[in-house]
């Protein structure tokens, strides 16, 4: 041991970036040598937004990062090092602390990392696995678009949204594969580029500013359409290997619904029994022959005509509210107890959480249209309390037509579905939230759907850390919807402009 004093209070260690693995290693080594307990350290990353509550503790050891690292008595196995190097690219913010805790515990039990029954080991391994899968999918699903030439070198760019911080890590793979051309791969947080000599890491970009077409894409779609054998439809197998969250960056994915629909008659029979993917673009059942002229007319009729539906519903219909011209409609499940009493959507505990998330996403609630899939509070009476009941598929179906008319009149660019009931009401299908979450999916009439969780789901998560993670994701989804609604035509923007917003040139 060097003559370093063990730390007594909690200390915050600030890493340079999300992928500052070397920094983590230097700091971890120094901390282990001081014998610092894992509980005394708070790991964070410079400029990481929104983590204010973790900012206590004096910032320490900025200078402690040694220029030439101390030769260390800490020896760790190569296999463990690999595990750490990969796992630290995970998006979860607890990864640095987790890896440190394990390293710390390994001072006593050197082979601990090999014990698959240990909770820390398992967690770190699950991080590693998830990162590896993400890397593999990135190798597969990056799609370059040609933007020009420089001398005799062709130039390509790609936009990709990985789950973890892997952009830098995939650089060598793409360099070795695409040595003979210039390219940039950008993501929201980081980008990587190759100019024939160097791999260059840079800042993140934004999809809107990214080239939207490449003539070859039409040929690629033509290939995709024709190589598929309609006599052997197996969409489930396809989806498990190519999850829907990747679809919006794959030029060929837009063909899938129609290919599935058109496949042979054998398959069609099976399809008829199942609600099929085309329901995503399908419409709700017609209700009579009446077409409302305005939102207020629709709502007035709705309050009257749906009054007799079902026994367990409250008398009051809670109407949607907000601005109908801002491009975003938020659809929840159904009004709750408080909403029903006051006749307004999203004002109970879930509504409060939504308000907070909107605030953090810098969205003004007044600029949204908020409504519910089912328009009345469904409950059972328990003494004085009214206990919330989840709407049944039949309830959802009953209100579908009204919801559809509502969105038709509002014509939003994007509809944000909060939770499974809303998704079902909007698409007629039960889609898995976890697999579709965060992707922008096409609906009919140039509308789009973004699936996220219902705030009440977050409230039900037992531990605070889990709540925080889900909350942050909700904020991210809200921002994404707002950004999408704010760019009416993402096709118009040229690649050069996008290149300008990066920190380097091709």
């Amino acid at each position: 041991m060097r003559n370093m004093q063990p730390l007594t209070d909690t200390h915050r260690i600030v890493l340079e970036s999300e992928t500052d693995i070397q920094g983590w290693r230097d700091q971890a080594r120094a901390m282990i040598q001081r014998g610092t307990e894992p509980g005394q350290l708070v790991w964070s990353v410079r400029n990481r937004a929104g983590m204010g509550e973790l900012d206590f503790g004096e910032v320490t050891h900025q200078q402690a990062r040694p220029a030439n690292r101390p030769s260390s008595e800490i020896r760790i196995d190569r296999a463990f090092l690999q595990l750490i190097n990969t796992a630290l690219l995970h998006k979860n913010e607890d990864r640095f602390a987790l890896a440190y805790r394990l390293l710390f515990r390994m001072q006593k039990t050197p082979k601990l990392y090999r014990n698959p029954a240990d909770a820390d080991v398992r967690k770190l391994q699950s991080y590693e696995k998830s990162v590896r899968r993400d890397i593999h999918k990135m190798h597969a699903f990056v799609r370059f678009r040609k933007v020009g030439t420089r001398g005799n070198r062709e130039q390509f760019i790609a936009w990709f949204e990985p789950e973890h911080h892997i952009v830098e890590a995939v650089g060598p793979f793409f360099r070795n594969r695409f040595t003979g051309m210039d390219w940039i791969i950008a993501s929201p947080d980081a980008s990587i580029a190759w100019d024939g000599e160097n791999l260059i890491s840079g800042a993140g970009g934004c999809k809107q500013d990214f080239a939207q077409e490449d003539v070859i894409e039409e040929e690629w779609r033509s290939y995709y359409r024709n190589i598929f054998n309609p006599a052997r439809l197996k969409t489930q197998a396809m989806k498990s290997e190519m999850p829907m969250k990747y679809w919006h960056n794959l030029p060929e994915a837009e063909l899938i619904p129609s290919l599935v629909r058109q496949s042979g008659s054998q398959v069609q029979k099976m399809l008829d029994r199942e609600t099929d993917i085309s329901a995503l673009t399908g419409q709700a059942v017609e209700e009579g022959h009446w077409t409302p002229d305005s939102l207020s007319e629709l709502n007035k009729e709705m309050a009257v005509r749906t009054a007799d539906y079902g026994d367990n519903f409250s008398v009051q219909a809670v109407l949607g509210e907000g601005r109908a011209d801002c491009g975003i409609v938020v659809v929840g499940e159904q009004p709750g107890d408080q909403e029903d009493r006051r006749g307004r959507p999203f004002i109970g505990p879930a509504g409060e959480l939504l308000d907070r998330a909107l605030g953090d996403a810098a969205i003004d609630r007044k600029h949204l249209y908020l409504t519910n899939a089912v328009k009345r509070f469904k409950y059972v009476q328990h003494g004085k309390r009214r206990i919330h009941q989840t709407p049944s598929p039949a309830d959802i179906k009953y209100y579908r037509w009204w919801l559809e008319q509502e969105t038709k009149l509002i014509k939003p660019r994007i509809i944000l579905a909060l939770g499974a009931t809303a998704v079902r009401a909007l698409t007629g299908r039960s889609l898995s939230i976890s697999r579709t979450r965060g992707a922008i999916l096409p609906l009919a009439a140039n509308r789009h759907l973004l699936v996220t969780v219902h705030p009440s789901y977050i409230l039900r998560i037992p531990d605070a850390a889990g709540q925080d993670i889900e909350y942050d994701k909700l904020v991210r989804d809200l921002r994404k919807a707002a950004a999408f609604a704010a760019t009416p035509d993402i096709n118009g923007i040229m690649a050069e402009q996008w290149l300008k917003c990066l920190a380097f040139d091709l």
């Binding site: 360099r175 054998n229 052997r232």
Partner: protein, 413 residues
């Protein structure tokens, strides 16, 4: 006839290639373009760049050079008497298309096949020229799989092997009589002779590479073939016997099974029903047992009835139920061969058991950690604190072990 655009040709020639089951881009040597400054790499493990709604992976640009064909194989859309639209790429078309797709990261490489035009030699020359230009002119390092024409000159096949990662010759039908009936211009004997020649060269080249790194490569990813299932009356026993012969005699890397799909403009002599996909699946499972589990065709067929594999349960379970006297197997004592026979235990699982039992005798709990689903293997194994008792003698074991009736649930996400 008006001239077709490249996209139009692509539509026709991809459509014509979709009945070829092979899509693998793995198993070749590692390569990358850092030294050559070109485009393309292979990492040994293929990458699936997309998936089609038929659940199959898209890793290669799989096309025909042309779907004109002088031959008249009844099971084939491209046969001369078929009414489909025809198209032909030029050699340069295919080269450009491959590079264009590759540079956009759509594909791992090219799988090129062709109908037979002018003569088998002429056709083969064109295929080879595509591969040569990609490798020599464009320094292309991606994967190339060429389907060879058995009737072509052996010198051409030799050249093909220099540029391609893998070569294949489709046998298409499991027995020579079916070949004679359904593919009158082809000959089973000639196909096998060509395969033998390929197998020999691949073996020799491998051996030479071991002694000298400079020795020329020859189809480093080996060779493969395809058999169509359900176009002729051959039963599963016949098919597996043919496969096992092909693996043993010619050193094939893979035999692909392709359930015969109804094809547009089908010939009257062929069934027009949906492909027996489950049968295809069972054949792949049986094929796996042949290659990695030490089963013989006779073993596998003890679990079959009337020459066909049981469609309800997998062939390994079917075999075990017919050979209950070989069980239970003691996971702490049994040799590798016996462990590999346990239904539900894969090669990885067996490897883990062998490693783990060096540390301590295995208990049920250990098995739970090692196996994907311990429930499946329990009736067949003994561990320190587990014995299946009389389970194996129970008459309803079959019903208990067969998978629950599945609902057709194509779109559950």
């Amino acid at each position: 006839m008006s001239k077709l655009s490249r996209t139009q040709k692509l539509a026709i020639l991809a459509d014509a290639a979709k009945y070829d089951a092979s899509c693998a881009s793995s198993g070749s040597t590692k390569r990358n373009s850092r030294k050559t400054g070109g485009i393309g790499s292979t990492g040994g493990m293929g990458i699936c760049h997309s998936y089609a709604p038929d659940g199959r992976c898209i890793s290669l640009l799989k096309i025909l050079l042309t779907n004109y064909c002088m031959f008249d194989c009844l099971y084939c859309v491209n046969r001369s008497s078929s009414n489909v639209r025809r198209a032909a790429f030029t050699v340069q078309d295919v080269v450009d298309l491959t590079l264009d797709f590759y540079k956009r990261n759509y594909i791992e490489g090219l799988f090129l096949s062709s109908g037979i035009i002018r003569s088998p030699d002429y056709t083969m020359e064109q295929l080879v020229e595509v591969a040569r230009r990609l490798r020599k002119v464009h320094r292309f390092g991606g994967y190339i799989h060429l389907k060879t024409i058995p009737e072509a000159d052996s010198e051409l096949l030799k050249e093909a092997g220099r540029y391609a990662d893998r070569l294949s010759i489709n046998i298409e039908l499991p027995d020579d009589k079916s070949i004679a009936r359904l593919a009158p211009e082809k000959s089973g004997t000639l196909i096998r002779k060509t395969m033998a020649g390929l197998g020999k060269r691949i073996g020799e080249a491998k051996a030479e590479r071991k002694t000298s790194r400079k020795a020329p490569v020859f189809s480093p990813g080996g060779h493969s073939t395809q058999m169509i299932i359900g176009a002729d009356p051959s039963d599963d026993g016949k098919i597996l016997t043919t496969s096992s012969g092909l693996y043993g005699r010619y050193g094939l890397k893979r035999v692909y099974y392709s359930a015969f799909s109804p094809i547009p403009d089908a010939s009257g002599g062929l069934p027009l029903k949906s492909p027996p996909l489950l049968r295809e699946h069972r054949l792949y499972q049986a094929d796996w047992l042949l290659r990695f589990y030490g089963f013989s065709v006779a073993d596998i067929m003890t679990g079959a009835n009337h020459g066909h594999l049981d469609l309800t349960i997998d062939p390994k379970l079917a075999w075990a139920l017919q050979n209950r006297d070989k069980f239970p197997v003691n996971v702490n004592l049994a040799d590798k061969e016996s462990l590999l026979r346990v239904p539900g235990l894969g090669t990885t699982g067996v490897g883990k058991i062998l490693r783990a039992r060096r540390f301590s005798a295995l208990r049920l709990q250990d098995l739970e950690r090692i196996c994907q689903s311990v429930k499946k293997i329990l009736p067949f194994v003994v561990a320190t604190d587990w014995h299946p008792g009389k389970q194996l003698d129970s008459l309803n074991l079959y019903d208990r072990l067969k998978p629950p009736a599945e609902q057709l649930n194509l779109f559950a996400v």
